[in-house]
Amino acid sequence: MVTPAPQPPSTTAVEPMLDVQDLTVRYGSHVALQGCTLQVQQNEIFGIIGPANAGKTSFLRSLNRMHDFVPGMRITGTVRFAGRDVEQVRNVYALRRRIGVVFPLPVGLPLSIYDNVALAPRLRGLRNKVALDEIVERCLRRAALWDEVKDRLRNLGSLLSGGQQQRLTIARALSQDPDLLLLDEFSIAVDPVTTMRIEEVLKELRQEMTIVLVTNLVQQARRLATRTAFFLSGRCVEIAPTEELFTGEVKDQRTRDYVEGRYG
């Protein structure tokens, strides 16, 4: 074997967007997540499913160093984002700008709709009105909100309806132009029609960014995710290509039970 077999350059040569090794998250003495190891490839939609208290949100929080703000939250293990150990990153603000976050409950900031979306570009110093207008319109369009709010961009974003606020939150995350988008059960406060619209948006966004989708809807993971991890009681039980979860090819009985709705 002298000549190596030709490899498809796109998949194997590129390093993973996210490389998590043996991640453990503690709140005081309580262990929320233990020994989690997984990789997320670039331009992948990576699903995380599991019941409450499985450690899903703790996992997301440790990716962009939000634990700096939570007293008593400690993490061990390593998280490498785009090849860099996040604990070693000096400019944590630049790190957070590259990672967009959408929370379970919509957070419309008490600013105008325009200012909500323009906030992140302004934080990094953009003042140009034309450029800001362009970003605001593009992000609101992508979040499927533009048509509903284009005539009242000066109104308060915090007074929109729940589903609209959630799309505003997504528009705000997109305005950061992130490499990685973290979605934490985004459809909890959103009606089914809007959920479907957002899911369509996510499929398009996949061309430009990597998405980690935490969801308590197993079918949502099935519709969107390339691969899915199953978290249970603070442990990452299994990671598999999403279809295998539903065709019964997964090894772990607990995963099968959860996917088939047999978990209490």
């Binding site: 939000m66 957070v107 934080l123 308060l156």
Partner: protein, 295 residues
């Protein structure tokens, strides 16, 4: 009558709880109304007895004939100096402290010590503040008995009020807003400046109102530190001594012989008027800030 209608009849037990409910409602209403009595009583007495003495001359003239005649102009101006001075000192200090405690401080022994200190500072009697002011500002910092020393003393006394009111209003801004802002790469200060402060303005102004009300009315802290019985002139700088309405009221009520009976009431009415005008200004600001629902 069908059996269904019977279900809307009151049982004796229901009747009893309804009677109880009315009685307790009446009781609480009476108790609440009692609160209003002193307020209107005070205002009524002051207006009836002090109102006739008020005139433009009364406000713009200085006291004459051993303080038994003339007006209160130097005291009025002096109170404005003292209150503004106290506010200028207490406001930046208090708001800064509140921002630190609410937005930066972690829960450790230092923070807990500071919080205990603030609570205790609020409980110190005003006469003790007066003695502290004499020791610290008049003597140690060598301001002399002056507007500056008196304002500093008033500022120390009103600080806890400003801090607590401001901290409460900062805490009233939901934590999720901060997290959303941080997750976009904002620093703590960017979050405070763009998000937290603009949404806590009305609460901070409440602190200002309380600060003014206390500073205008206090007598003890200023009587040893910068306010005097009588000066003919109005102050020209912070190292001057000055008359003050509250101290003037004390003097004409108890110290000066042969005062016409209406005069103390007129002074008291003016004092309350100054508090009301200053408060009304702050409240008007607050209404504008609060005008629309933010979330």
């Amino acid at each position: 009558m069908s059996g269904l209608d019977n279900r809307f009849l009151r049982t004796p037990r229901e009747q009893r709880s309804l009677t109880q409910q009315s009685l307790f409602r009446l009781l609480f209403l009476v108790m609440t109304s009692l609160l209003v009595v002193p307020v209107f009583g005070i205002l009524l007495v002051l207006i009836v007895r002090g109102g006739p003495g008020l005139s433009l001359d009364f406000f713009l003239d200085k006291p004459r004939k051993g303080m038994t005649a003339g007006g209160i102009f130097p005291a009025l101006i002096g109170t404005l100096w003292l209150t503004s001075g106290a506010l200028l000192l207490a406001f930046p200090l208090g708001v800064s402290a509140a921002i630190y405690l609410s937005e930066y401080a972690r829960d450790n022994w230092l923070t807990r010590t500071i919080n205990i200190a603030i609570v205790n500072l609020a409980g110190v009697p005003s006469i003790v503040h007066a003695l502290f002011g004499v020791g610290a500002f008049v003597l140690f910092l060598d301001f002399g008995a002056s507007i500056l020393a008196a304002s500093c003393t008033l500022a120390v006394m009103t600080l806890p009020v400003v801090i607590v009111a401001t901290r409460e209003s900062l805490q009233a801004v939901p934590h999720s807003f901060r997290e959303a802002c941080w997750s976009m790469g904002a620093t703590r200060w960017q979050t405070i400046w763009r998000l937290v402060l603009p949404n806590s303005g009305s609460g901070i102004l409440t602190g200002v109102i309380l600060c003014i009300s206390r500073a205008v009315g206090e007598t003890a802290p200023i009587m040893f530190t910068g306010a005097v019985y009588w000066v003919a002139y109005t102050p020209e700088g912070v190292f001057d001594q000055t008359m003050a309405l509250s101290l003037h009221l004390y003097n004409v009520s108890t110290q000066v012989p042969n005062v016409p009976p209406g005069l103390p009431f007129s002074v008291a009415l003016t004092l309350i008027g100054v508090v009301l005008v200053m408060n009304a200004t702050a409240i008007a600001f607050r209404m504008r800030l609060r005008g629309r629902k933010r979330w």
